[in-house]
Symmetry: D2
Subunit: 138 residues, 4 copies
Amino acid sequence: MAKIHKTEIRVRYQETDNMGVVYYANYFIWFEVARTEYFRSLGVNYRRLEEKGAYLMVAKASCDYKSPAKYDDIVRIETSLPELKNSSLKFAHKLFVNNRLIATGESLHVFTNRASRPMRIPEEVSRLISSSELSPRR
Amino acid sequence: MAKIHKTEIRVRYQETDNMGVVYYANYFIWFEVARTEYFRSLGVNYRRLEEKGAYLMVAKASCDYKSPAKYDDIVRIETSLPELKNSSLKFAHKLFVNNRLIATGESLHVFTNRASRPMRIPEEVSRLISSSELSPRR
Amino acid sequence: MAKIHKTEIRVRYQETDNMGVVYYANYFIWFEVARTEYFRSLGVNYRRLEEKGAYLMVAKASCDYKSPAKYDDIVRIETSLPELKNSSLKFAHKLFVNNRLIATGESLHVFTNRASRPMRIPEEVSRLISSSELSPRR
Amino acid sequence: MAKIHKTEIRVRYQETDNMGVVYYANYFIWFEVARTEYFRSLGVNYRRLEEKGAYLMVAKASCDYKSPAKYDDIVRIETSLPELKNSSLKFAHKLFVNNRLIATGESLHVFTNRASRPMRIPEEVSRLISSSELSPRR
């Protein structure tokens, strides 16, 4: 079973809109922050991956909105990695404000090189992900 | 068959990221622009709807990314309304750069009042949507 | 002498642009985060101020960019309140990455009511600000 | 006397905030759009300049906010180039909604190469700027 990593984000005023709640596209920015922190928690520095020429392109992204977030709320994002293939991986997120589930989201990613060609997931990444998956079966 | 409305957007420098392409969350901002223009093309002024107390909340949103958009590209967004129910509607978008399909996306919306309670779609909106669906075949 | 408050921000991928550095407008978003945290450090909850009908409108804002910030950098923002008048106040910010000054900025604000009319700074705010100014002269 | 170029921008929902008006940092994004269009009106394609290795870094930026802009407003931006030096230039902007001045802003830029080193303004740019300044009086 994949590791779950928790990241907390404080809602910025800039992220709110005319309705007095967080604008819907901003949830995808939070997913990105959560992905970076998920990787960091495994020992993967995504910035360094890019410096070495491995880019995590987004192929699909989706979000289900259950209840709005407001300015200054602390949003807890629980991130997992439900799918890991040769050259792609999927992140899943659950967002909470005060322990209430406010949204869920997913994103599918493909590793590419500098020329935007798909490549295998860098070995150091798949190894660190695998070693974090302490399944009960083992 | 639902009307298709075309909106063009010029990619802003702000919308690009470290990879030299448009950041993935920005597609959802473009969808919003396309929705407003879709409504305007039907004679619905969304700003006025909100002033009257009807809000179009986003319940779900998704995007499939096929090929990147770059700074200064002109993105053509073809928007349709494949689903219209009593209190919800769905928008679908196809995005093109130079006639090449670069992404598709969808969003499901619920009409709510100022207190965020679901309400029926304002009658003026459903009437204008319905009258736009008169295909020549009928 | 006014209190200095330090806030740290991790650069998001979304905040970078085509040049591989943080897009210039995003510094103003960081200033906003730093203002909220400055207030919180004084015991002022800006969200609650707005709920009571006091809004901090921006009248002027400026930034001097000395050296770029990059994705995943930790930016330390040192914020002070160099000016406090009857209905306006000024924030000043110094931004550092690894102890190197990368930018400075200022913003002038006016307190207004819900109808956007200027009002005196709420008494609780000016009192908390004043009590935080432990000048050597006293 | 420098040429004035007019650009129109429709306010996006995403650009509004909790106060029901456009968030202050977004004016700087509009300035960027206005700069690109100013250049285009002179025959300078900024995207192509970057592809050739010339980058217009922002050194300073400021904005004076006089009156708010709202969702769906059409903002007219009048842009001029009051200063042109060997390796820097300054843009000035006046923003109008319904012919009412709502903000003014400025930005100072330095041309740099890919390695972020200052360079002279590309000759094609300075020539096109200079030839646009031929007022009928001369």
